[in-house]
């Protein structure tokens, strides 16, 4: 009894939530909620693929067919005339990565539990 009185609002929601989750909610309802979330993403994806198919929106389908890509890499006077992965590309468009593991190692050493 004392425990219940001491329980905070949030603790209560959590406890009640768990209780309902175990006992009251049907499996179907869970499935529905998950399906709804997925359907939301799939709807956006569908519009993307529809646009890809729409010749009025996208005349060309392949990156290499884009006239402004051909112009960029034009061997004569293109800005990247050496072609993809040439010197200028490497200077402007490629990068190096940094090992950032030290700080999470330190966190774990302090006792934080991470997913990996």
């Amino acid at each position: 009894m004392r425990n219940i009185i001491k329980m905070t609002r949030r603790g209560f929601i959590r406890a009640a939530g768990l209780a309902c989750g175990y006992a009251v909610l049907s499996v179907n309802m869970t499935k529905e909620a998950m399906a709804a979330a997925l359907a939301f993403v799939e709807q956006r994806q569908k519009h993307v693929y529809d646009a890809d198919r729409n010749n009025k929106l996208y005349e060309y389908k392949k990156s290499q067919d884009n006239p402004m890509i051909t112009a960029l890499y034009d061997k004569q006077d293109g800005f990247l005339h050496e072609g993809p992965c040439g010197h200028m590309s490497h200077r402007l468009l490629h990068t190096d990565y940094i090992d950032r593991s030290a700080r999470v190692k330190a966190l774990k050493a302090k006792g934080y539990k991470l997913a990996l």
Partner: protein, 418 residues
């Protein structure tokens, strides 16, 4: 704090700050109801319970990939963004000496409309460019154009890697995509030994920043030092990426500001623009024209499909008749495919979204027995259309009770199967 499209933002616009020390998302402890949804969707465990009441917080920015999946899934709206450049951009738009450059990502045009009453996913690319012009952006570039550039660079890199196998100093396979800043930070943080597998290509926005200030400067006759480049993304992690100090290859910082789809919607409304009545406008052609291969970058599997549309032709020497390679489209999770290429053979590829899903695949790579040549990873389930910077799913908070109960139930069942 400013509320934009149902999400709170701290309105600071940091410059010259180490992004590794910034909390791009954080929990308001007064709003957190301890439901644990955020922890469930987080791939790294960065967001976790910090006291007996179960109040959650991002414990340290080093462990957070800044994807914002916790934020868009929180049924109580308890999670806010730590960075917003909106005020600074409004100032720059007013400044006659600054040339403001717009650089919107593919997925933005499939989310923005929702903030103006269009059905989920409606394409509003033309109106988006029109709105940017109306807001006062001077150069209307398009990150879809650099998605095409990315395919040229990354596809070429892949073909090079495939051909160099067995030779000394060959770069390893599988090659990983590097478009997603959440994923890139994930490799750097949790799998640094696999950094050599990451494509050396910057992301499309990582490419458009420096191209705007070099090639774009040349084409538009605007000196790069007058330019203020604005990255407009479906994504919170792109704010981190834009601040990476090494992205300064144009001689200036390549990306001056980053905002997400919600913030763009806020700016359009704030400026009193009637979005629905706008005409369809095309971006500036030289750094703006794009293909279907570019627009599908917004979906999980899209970068893979666009790369295969190039790789097929380069490796086979033949034209690809049907560009729609549905075998690599993935609405969520993991999808492996074997794609036959004439005069070459089968190419084994894998598409993953959701960071937790990468772990078994990466362990395979670590052990040296990954069957794949090319792996695409997006942090957000389903890809950037479902990014952490996109408009919220209106059902999420409306059906609060049902949702929370459903999630509690799911967590319970997950525990049972463990």
């Amino acid at each position: 704090m400013k509320e934009m499209e149902g999400v709170l933002y701290q309105t600071n616009a940091p410059t010259g700050v180490d992004p590794d020390n910034i909390y791009f998302v954080q929990v308001d402890p007064n709003k957190c109801e301890a439901c644990g949804t955020c922890e469930e969707v987080c791939g790294t465990g960065a967001i976790q319970s910090i006291n007996d009441e179960g109040i959650h917080a991002v414990v340290n920015p080093a462990a957070c990939m800044n994807c914002g999946q916790c934020l868009v899934n929180c049924p109580y709206g308890a999670i806010y963004e730590g960075v917003s450049y909106v005020d600074q951009i409004f100032e720059k738009l007013k400044d006659p000496n600054t040339v403001v450059v717009s650089m919107p990502a593919p997925a933005v045009r499939y989310g923005l409309g929702e903030c103006f009453g269009y059905p989920t996913g409606t394409y509003v690319g033309g109106k988006m460019h029109a709105a940017l012009k109306k807001l006062g952006f001077d150069l209307i570039y398009d990150n879809e154009w650099t998605a095409d550039v990315t395919i040229m660079e990354e596809g070429t890199e892949l073909v090079q890697r495939v051909k160099e196998q067995g030779k000394p100093k060959a770069r390893p396979l599988p090659q990983f995509t590097s478009c997603c800043p959440g994923w890139v930070k994930f490799v750097e943080t949790f799998y640094p030994d696999l950094i050599p597998n990451l494509s050396s290509c910057k992301s499309p926005i990582g490419m458009l920043g420096p191209l705007a200030k070099t090639y774009g400067s040349h084409e538009s006759h605007v000196p790069a030092k007058k330019m203020y480049t604005v990255s407009i993304m479906p994504c919170i992690a792109k704010k981190y990426e834009g601040m990476r100090p090494e992205l300064a290859d144009s001689g200036y910082h390549d990306i001056d500001a980053t905002i997400d789809t919600r913030e763009l919607a806020y700016m359009i409304k704030k400026a009193g623009i009637d979005f629905k009545s706008l005409p369809d406008v095309k971006p500036d052609r030289e750094l703006g024209e794009s293909t279907g291969g570019a627009t599908i970058f917004g979906c999980s599997g899209g970068v893979m499909e666009a790369a295969l549309r190039l790789g097929y032709e380069v490796l086979s020497g033949e034209k690809l008749k049907d560009p729609y390679i549905k075998a690599v489209r993935a609405s969520s999770g993991v999808k492996a495919a074997s794609v036959p290429i004439p005069n070459f053979g089968e190419i084994q590829v894998c598409v993953v979204s959701g960071l937790a899903n990468t772990i078994p695949i990466l362990e395979q790579v670590r052990q040296g027995n990954s069957p794949y040549a090319f792996i695409e990873v997006m942090t957000c389930p389903g890809g950037c259309v479902n990014g952490g910077g996109q408009p919220l799913d209106p059902d999420l908070r409306a059906s609060l009770f049902k949702n929370v109960m459903a999630r509690v139930n799911r967590r319970y069942r997950m525990r049972q199967t463990v």
